[in-house]
């Protein structure tokens, strides 16, 4: 079962590498923000699988924290691009 987890982790890292192309070269700032949000949500699942692979339950807390931070960051960036300021 541990080999399946390793294979899934490698495949998720490959999808992160593919979507890094859009984050680096995407035309315009909105493509880059969308690609960074996608990379963040993939990283949550990668952290959970790494926690199973190394058998450390501490990684699930890190993935919960990362989910919240990624959501807040994307939302703040969208509001900043929409209004020109974060706080109204």
């Amino acid at each position: 079962m541990i080999e399946v987890f390793l294979a899934i982790a490698v495949l998720i890292a490959f999808t992160i590498l593919l979507s890094l192309y859009r984050a680096a070269l995407g035309p315009g700032v909105f493509n880059r923000v969308a690609a960074v949000s996608v990379i963040g949500t993939k990283t949550i699942v990668l952290l959970v699988i790494i926690g199973y692979y190394f058998e450390r339950p501490l990684f699930f807390d890190i993935s919960l924290l990362y989910a919240i931070l990624n959501f807040i960051g994307t939302l703040a960036f969208a509001k900043y691009l929409e209004r020109g300021e974060v706080w109204s």
Binding site: M1, V4, I8, L11, I12, T15, L18, S19, Y21, R22, P27, G28, F30, N31, V33, A34, A35, S37, V38, T41, K42, I44, V45, V48, I49, Y52, P57, F60, D61, S63, L64, A67, I68, F71, T74, L75, A78, K79, L81, E82
Partner: protein, 117 residues
């Protein structure tokens, strides 16, 4: 013991299939709105499928087969359920926020025959 491994592997394979579909849409679609249309749904479903597969694996191996495990290991499925609920709430909300910001700042949708952007 083999049945639960097969079920978990099927869940993980379905999740990685949906994630690859979303990334191919992110790379190949011609416009910002169509790219978000691809990733906003496929990524949510793929990640939730992968976490559900890991949840079934954890419930079988660490809660059902190992009753003397410590409480911090037995309570891991609660954290994973929290993570599933949060992904289902937060991922479409973030997609909607980016798309609304792009629409209000004047990004035009792509029409047939135009150049790719």
């Amino acid at each position: 013991m083999v049945i639960i491994d097969v079920i978990v592997t099927l869940f993980l394979a379905a999740g990685i299939f949906f994630m690859f579909t979303g990334v191919i849409g992110l790379l190949r679609f011609p416009d910002f709105y169509t790219r978000l249309h691809a990733t906003g749904k496929c990524d949510t479903l793929g990640e939730v499928l992968i976490i559900v597969g890991l949840l079934l694996d954890h419930i079988y191996y660490y809660v059902y087969l190992l009753p003397e495990a410590p409480l911090s290991v037995k309570l891991v499925p609660v954290k994973l359920i929290f993570l599933i609920v949060f992904i289902f709430l937060a991922n479409p909300t973030a997609t909607h926020a980016i798309m609304k910001a792009a629409y209000k700042t004047g990004v035009k949708p792509w029409k047939l025959g135009e150049e790719r952007r």
